[in-house]
């Protein structure tokens, strides 16, 4: 449906004039969103009260269902309807003739266009990135609170319940509102360009998936305002704790639904775009590795994300409807939550890593001026990780009391994942080998990722082994491991990607000196913060507890001081981004002399990416190979087509 209008490029009109007076209340926008939120809240409330009245449940007014349905489901739907995310579909559903596409919702002419439903994948990519950086800062501040509390033994600033809320919301924001959507944002911007496509396959669905994100993020943050405090069962939200804990858990359970829906819709869009909209000549074996990475990630998202949605539904039903899915006293299987949750959340660590692998492959090849080593194996190892990733979930549950026979098979599959991951690490090293290295900021982040991720991968092998895992379960060793793979791994690749594509997205160059300063501050601060956690973890300091034994006091003070330095390094990043976006020197179309298609157009690219769809003639990474071409555009494309004919 949404692709059909591409077949009518002759239909185009000027953007509609802005509405005035009472019309403004009816025109899509934040004004309409306000009254529609109130309206939809009323509908949700009526639904809850009506059903409770008919079913004869007492009391009629019960907070949990009102929160879950009226506040966290229908009110956000009202917001989406208000800003106009559903306008086209409502129009279609009412049986009106399909509107000719006037592209008025496409592209950005002023900053205001970033605050409305926009169908341009480049605008959506920037929307994603700015939103996720906002939640990254919010989540980072929560981590600063956690470290302030842990600087000394005993309880200083927060009571245990608040502290539990702080680290739970920190982790949830960083995972669901930063790492996963930041990758989606980068890919949104770059993948259609790399494929030689004018946009994503479903631009309106793309816009909708973005607008679900702020809803999920605000939901998580606002859980602090609820009497009883934020959800405090960790980002894993294990039942029965999340079933009996404060009503803040409802905010987590619903926010995950919104973020998950956003994730699934984006992944569908990527898959369809990659399969059906590749430029002529762009076979699967000529796709850049970033596209490959997002292809496998999207498959993971589509297959696995329904499981976390279901796990949160069950926990929500147990709380709101009084069902017995995870209530052991009435026949529920309490470990079921963990099985279903980790069946998503283990593949989710690859959802949080594979796109980063793609970014690093781009950066390392371009900055080493060499073809990527073992291109096909790089792509196939992504697929191998995808399949193996579904067979390892119970390694998060070695101490949970699950069936003992599950342990060894899960340990073996876990260790097996080191093989495809090792292939990738050695391929990157071989790519760097004897290359003409350009130590620009993106390359520094990519190299930092390579070394830090290997450390995180090695502690992962430790944790995959049953005996060591039993010893270190729920200690700071696990905290160190997850931060080495998610911070040293995913976050470093996100920064690599942001710096690498910054000139493409903004048309301006960032400050190289500040970029390098940002890298080194982060690199040192990161290691000073998280490396000692291995030591105190092995000595047995438990995670997720507000207080700790006095013998860990010195290390914790050191870690807290280092973490504040790490937090401060973000200021350099934010200053560099904002200042360079506003005042940086103009960037050329291809400052890195890269071959992939996104660099063959202007910076920033024209609204519809290409005047004509390019012709792909070779592999994407033939750096240093004389006469090698990836794609031809413009005049050359016409000549090439003549030559082939």
């Amino acid at each position: 449906m949404s692709t059909t209008e591409h077949h009518h490029p002759e239909v185009h009109a000027a953007p509609r004039p802005p509405a005035t007076g009472l019309r403004r209340l009816l025109a899509p926008g934040f004004l309409r969103a306000i009254w529609m939120m109130a309206l939809f809240f009323g509908i949700g409330l009526a639904l809850v009260l009506g059903i409770r009245a008919i079913a004869g449940w007492h009391p009629l007014w019960h907070w949990p269902p009102v929160l879950a349905v009226a506040f966290l489901t229908t009110m956000p739907l009202g917001f989406l309807a208000g800003i106009g995310a559903f306008d086209y579909w409502t129009h279609y559903a009412l049986g009106r003739p399909t509107r000719p596409e006037d592209h008025s919702g496409h592209g950005a002419r002023s900053w205001r266009d970033y605050f409305r439903v926009n169908t341009d994948h480049k605008v959506i990519g920037v929307q994603y990135l700015v939103t996720t950086v906002f939640f990254f800062v919010a989540g980072g501040l929560l981590a600063m609170f956690v470290r302030a509390e842990l600087a000394r033994p005993g309880t200083q600033f927060f009571d245990p319940q608040t502290y539990n809320g702080l680290f739970s919301v920190h982790a949830s924001l960083m995972i669901f509102l930063f790492i996963i959507p930041a990758f989606a944002g980068l890919a949104n911007y770059v993948v259609p360009l790399m494929l030689g496509a004018p946009d994503m396959a479903f631009p309106r669905l793309n816009a909708l998936s973005y607008w679900l994100l702020p809803i999920a993020g605000i939901m998580m943050l606002s859980s602090f305002l609820i009497p009883g405090g934020a959800f405090a069962a960790g980002w894993t939200g294990y039942a029965p704790l999340s079933v009996v804990g404060s009503d803040g858990n409802i905010f987590f359970q619903m926010a995950v639904q919104w973020a998950g829906a956003s994730s699934i819709m984006t992944a569908l869009n990527f898959l369809v775009t990659i399969i059906t909209m590749r430029a002529p000549g762009m076979t699967f074996w000529r796709m850049p590795l970033l596209v490959w990475a997002n292809f496998t990630t999207s498959l993971l998202v589509v297959i696995a994300t329904p499981f976390i949605a279901a796990s949160q539904f069950f926990a929500l039903f147990d709380r709101v409807l009084g069902t017995d899915f995870f209530r052991p006293e009435s026949g529920g299987y309490v470990l079921g939550y963990q099985h279903i949750f980790w069946f998503y959340s283990h593949p989710a660590v690859y959802i949080m890593m594979l796109p980063g692998f793609g970014i690093v492959s781009e950066v390392i090849s371009v900055m080493s001026r060499k073809p990527i080593f073992g291109y096909r194996l790089m792509a196939l190892s992504l697929m191998a990780i995808l399949f193996l990733g579904f067979s390892v979930w119970a390694h998060h549950m070695f101490v949970s009391g699950m069936a003992p026979w599950l342990r060894v098979p899960m340990m073996i599959t876990t260790l097996l994942i080191a093989v495809p991951t090792g292939i990738k690490v050695f391929s990157w090293l071989a790519t760097i080998w004897e290359g003409k290295l350009n130590f620009s900021t993106p390359m520094l982040w990519a190299l930092g990722f390579l070394s830090m991720f290997v450390i995180g991968g090695l502690s992962g092998i430790y944790l995959g082994a049953v005996p060591i895992d039993i010893h270190t379960s729920d200690t700071y060793f696990v905290v160190a491991h997850i931060h080495y793979v998610l911070f040293g791994g995913s976050l470093f690749t996100i920064f690599a990607g942001i710096y690498y594509w910054f000139p493409k997205m903004t048309g301006r160059m960032y400050d190289e000196r500040l970029g390098k300063l940002h890298f080194w501050l982060t690199f040192v601060g990161f290691n000073a913060t998280f490396f000692p956690m291995h030591l105190i973890g092995v000595q047995g300091m438990p995670r997720r507890v507000v207080d700790y034994a006095p013998e860990f006091a010195n290390w914790n003070f050191f870690i807290s001081v280092a973490s504040f330095g790490l937090g401060a390094s973000t200021i350099v990043f934010l200053y560099n981004m904002i200042n360079s976006w506003a005042r940086g020197p103009r960037a050329t179309g291809n400052p890195w002399r890269a071959l992939t298609l996104e660099w063959q157009v202007s910076s920033p690219p024209p609204t519809f990416n290409f005047d004509e769809i390019p012709q792909v003639v070779g592999n994407p990474y033939e750096y240093g190979v004389p006469g090698a071409r990836h794609a031809v555009l413009g005049e050359e494309r016409v000549e090439e087509l003549e030559r082939v004919r």
Partner: protein, 197 residues
């Protein structure tokens, strides 16, 4: 290209697959839906098999296997009328399209109403042990999907009566149809495991 200004509209995207984008999107979405049902079946399996439930259904409870069986037959029939509607529009027969869609809608509604009446008479609630929870979980999830399917079919029906869809352009019938067939097949699995096994 007839446009004078090349920047005014997008270039026509190259179609690199024989499958059309919306159809592929619907199939991938169904894959995601199957996993959602998979999670509900997993929790059902945990409660019944892994937890060694002593009696399933518990003493004194009985499911209306026969009524639900008739309901199953109704839903399966609606898949055939849906197919008929699609074949009709492909042949260019608007009457067949309209009749097929209306019949499908009617049978889907009958199924949903029967299920709601069943809920009121079945004699237990979602909060009555894991049997109740998983029964309402699986049939409720499926019921929600029937509702979504019916909503999509309503849109298609409204458009069919307003003169949209032609023998060449009928994605608006085909795609809700694919979803409807999925809902039917999924019901057979739910019926077999919840009522029969």
């Amino acid at each position: 290209m007839s446009t004078a200004d090349a920047h005014a509209g997008p270039p026509v995207a190259h179609q690199s697959s024989r499958v059309s984008a919306p159809v592929l999107g619907m199939f991938l979405f169904i894959g995601s839906e199957i996993m959602l049902f998979g999670a509900f079946f997993t929790v059902y399996f945990f409660a019944r098999v892994v937890n060694n439930a002593p009696a399933w259904p518990p003493e004194g409870l009985e499911l209306p296997v026969l009524v639900a069986g008739v309901n199953t037959a109704i839903l399966v029939t609606s898949s055939f009328t849906m197919h008929w509607a699609l074949q009709s529009v492909k042949r260019g027969s608007r009457a067949g399209l309209q009749a097929g869609l209306v019949l499908t809608l009617a049978m889907g509604l009958t199924f949903l109403l029967t299920q709601m009446i069943e809920y009121t008479r079945v004699g237990f609630a979602p909060r009555d042990g894991t049997f109740g929870s998983t029964f309402y979980g699986l049939t409720g999830l499926h019921g929600a999907h029937v509702f979504i399917g019916l909503t999509l079919l309503t849109f298609a029906t409204v458009r069919a009566f307003r003169g949209h869809f032609t023998a060449e352009h009928h994605h608006g019938v085909e795609i809700p149809g694919i979803y409807w067939h999925f809902v039917d097949v999924m019901w057979i699995v739910v019926y077999a495991s919840v009522y029969l096994l």
